[in-house]
Point group: C2
Chain length 330, copies 2
């Protein structure tokens, strides 16, 4: 270092002031101002579960005016107050979306695949974040759906209608498939605009997907190496959580056992609008979180804030989420 | 999409099973298994403060066996219990490090610059994350030190001893400079190994830095466009926090008003080993956090987990940190 060899020693306050500058300081104002980046960095985060490598991938986060019925069984004012207490913009609710990729050593397995191509600029970023993480869509071996709501399953199709993961087996919960593909159920949902849309969406998305690509899975099975499906129904009839395990390590992928934790972990008896059987969903939630908190398990939540991983603690009749400390290395 | 044109319609559970696959599914097992990435993604996070663009940059995180005196005024067992309650590995303490970059429109201003070149592989990652964020070290106009502890200031030098930010003005708190550069203070610290090391380190790091590169700043001044220095002494005699403001937006850069929040926000009266005047540090902490919680200010903490930004709430005589929800877009 030239400065060192020139012995510009600043060994004291007095010395500092007296030191002669042989290397004049080029005024930075002579250089052009650096432009603002204007965009966020990639949102992917890696973690290990034993020998399995997990990658949390953001599909985006949506902030929108809270619908009157976002929480069905409490006054809207109470939900708005909870949102504000969680620092969401006044009158709004914020919902993030986080599919998970697992490299099991032999297989690249994606759990849920986001909203896919959509006019909403706040979501549909899975493929960009996957690419940022160095993963090619063609290398994904399997996409496992936790359930068949659009924010979890629509990303199976690219904008041009082709399969977004051209070499992947698609695994769907048998009970969800049976429910959504039932013409009888669809007919019953005609009077409910939200449900009517959901039925139409599932059919639209899976239209054209070759039958041999889609495998229906049951609960309590190893659906991929180290990944076991867990009955978590209530949110939808086939809604599934997962245990990802390797050696002594285990992580629970809760899918939508709760929607946003600021609401439904803090208030586990609240019914989110999207629960098909909200009473069963509450029962599932309490059972799941009593287990997760007792074993101090790491939990991944599709609707937790990125990187969407944390510990859940009992807090009287409620629960609280303690986000993991971001690790800059794995 | 070929599948669509071939009308492999899966419109029901029965239809799905019956559909003929004209596009046989290439078994993914025929492809080579994707290798694990084996490393974390970049750790930078962008946010806006009015028209100012902030970037939180991880310099790393260090997890180490808790020294007996990490918290001076409580039994070690109590600190170990707090660490375990915060999901740190048993017997260990985890300390992250997060410098902040602000693009003020005219200037690229870095607050603190990490540990620099060090044999410890867990730290010293600022330059890599800065590069990942698309910023060249030569484009940084100013590096402002909150105080002159090694994890904040050593990164001013590259591994070869040259200036890591070759075009940057270096701003140091006048009171810290006077304290650390005083031969009288250094002599008094001879009997305290930690303080002796700190005095030696400051002198080593600033040896060879041309005097005209280093500006001493006072408190209550706009040290860079939109960035005002705040007296936060106690941790060190010149320890400084910052308010970054633009339009109606404001964020507080707390520097080391608390070390890790799991310990010192939850227990604001605990004395971290590194506080030079721990009683004053506690007074500063309470004053700072009473203000921050009252105005619901966003707070950046050098030792908060990346992205190191959150809201602080009063919780009786304690405080709690509510990390911000990660925004996948800015």
């Amino acid at each position: 270092m030239t400065q060192l060899s020139r012995r510009h020693l600043l060994t004291g306050a007095a010395g500092a002031a007296a030191a002669t500058a042989l290397t004049p300081f080029a005024a930075s104002s002579a250089r052009a101002a650096a432009p603002a980046a204007g965009k966020q960095g990639p949102s992917f985060y890696r973690y290990k579960v034993g020998s399995i490598e997990g990658t949390s991938l953001s599909d985006g986060a949506n902030t929108f005016p809270m619908p009157d019925t976002f929480v069905r069984n409490i006054p809207k004012e109470q939900a708005l107050a909870a949102a504000e207490a969680a620092y969401m913009p006044k009158g709004m609710v914020r919902v993030p979306f986080n599919p998970q990729l697992f490299n099991t050593g032999g297989k690249l397995v994606l759990i849920d695949c986001g909203s896919g191509s959509t006019p909403n600029p706040n979501v549909g970023h899975l493929m960009a974040n996957l690419k940022a993480a160095g993963v090619e869509a063609k290398d994904v071996d399997m996409v496992i759906m936790s359930h068949l709501h659009p924010d979890h399953t629509n990303g199976i199709k690219a904008a041009d209608g082709s399969l977004a993961f051209p070499n992947a087996e698609i695994k769907v919960p048998a009970a969800d498939w049976a429910f959504w593909m039932s013409d009888e159920n669809a007919a019953k949902a005609e009077s409910n605009p939200m449900m009517k849309n959901y039925f139409a969406n599932v059919r639209r998305v899976y239209t054209g997907v070759p039958a041999d690509r889609v495998t229906k899975y049951e609960w309590g099975k190893e659906v991929a190496p180290g990944i076991t499906s867990i009955d978590a129904n209530g949110h939808t009839p086939g809604h599934t959580a997962f245990a990802v395990a390797s050696g002594n390590a285990r992580i629970l992928v809760q899918s939508d056992v709760t929607n946003i934790p600021e609401f439904f972990l803090r208030n586990p008896d609240w019914h989110v609008a999207f629960d098909i059987d909200p009473v069963k969903a509450v029962e599932t939630r309490r059972k799941f979180y009593d287990m997760a908190s007792a074993e101090k398990a790491l939990v991944v939540g599709f609707h937790f804030s990125f990187p969407s991983i944390g510990y859940v603690e009992k807090d009287g009749a409620k629960y609280r989420l303690v986000p993991i400390a971001w690790s800059p290395a794995i």
